[in-house]
Amino acid sequence: MSPPHQPTSINPNSLKIQLAYRFLHNLNNINTKRSNLDHTQINRKSHRVKVAAYASMAFVTGSRRAWSRSILRKIRNRGVLARIKKRVDHKASRVRVHHHLNARSTKRRNPSCSNPNGDYIDPSGNLGLEVKLRKLVPGAVMMDACGLLDETADYIKCLATQVEVMRTLVDLYSTI
């Protein structure tokens, strides 16, 4: 019952199926962890479901796309950070977590933040819009205009399919 691991071309059906498999797998992992029954945990659970959704999107797309790589990197960093926090005691953890946060943030952020190709599409009218788009699509901050549009198209396709999968699941679970 393992999901197919070939890279999906443009076939939306196979993308949907792969997303559905992966998302259900992630959801199952969430469920089989500690059961959160009180209301304070509900928010955290919804956050975990959201992270699971983005994780399954990024996993199915793999390393082919910058946005999926960025999402996977963020999730991995978060996991490592959580493990560090658990292992070390409270006082020392504050110092070390601070160091790790600094190291990781400088790694992620490109020191040469000047974007020479940033305003390639049209500096007169569209600069603000392009910057907004770069902020919305993960990992697209330092791309040129051509790559940005391509990334956006792929991101929208995957995101829309993921939304469809989630909608179907919600309908399914609400009829039980």
């Binding site: 019952m1 559905a20 259900l24 797998h25 959801l27 199952n28 969430i30 469920n31 959160n36 029954l37 509900i42 659970k45 919804s46 956050h47 975990r48 479901v49 959201k50 699971a52 959704a53 983005y54 020479p116 190709n117 390639y120 599409i121 049209d122 500096p123 007169s124 009218g125 569209n126 819009l129 392009e130 907004k132 788009l133 919305l136 699509v137 040129d144 205009a145 051509c146 549009l149 391509d150 956006t152 198209a153 991101y155 929208i156 396709k157 995101l159 829309a160 993921q162 939304v163 989630m166 909608r167 699941l169 919600v170 399914l172 679970y173 609400s174 039980i176």
Partner: protein, 92 residues
Amino acid sequence: MSSRRSRQSSNGASRITDDQIIQLLSKLQQLVPEIRNRRSNKASASKVLQETCNYVRSLHREVDDLSDRLSHLLSTIDAESPEASIIQSLIM
């Protein structure tokens, strides 16, 4: 619009043509449902970008909303019920 050509000649590193950008914009236009129904030659670049931003934002909001509902549903359905186990076995 006339400044595109001068920028292209000055930026020799990335040889992106106007046609490529137009092509990508039209591809993006096909994906965004808001502007898909209109005739393609009427949508300007700024319109496409604006609608794309709005669409991505609305998709993000929808993911948040759906994950919220899903988490509520997951916590309320009885995990031991036979229907749930049947559905789980069918899907997985």
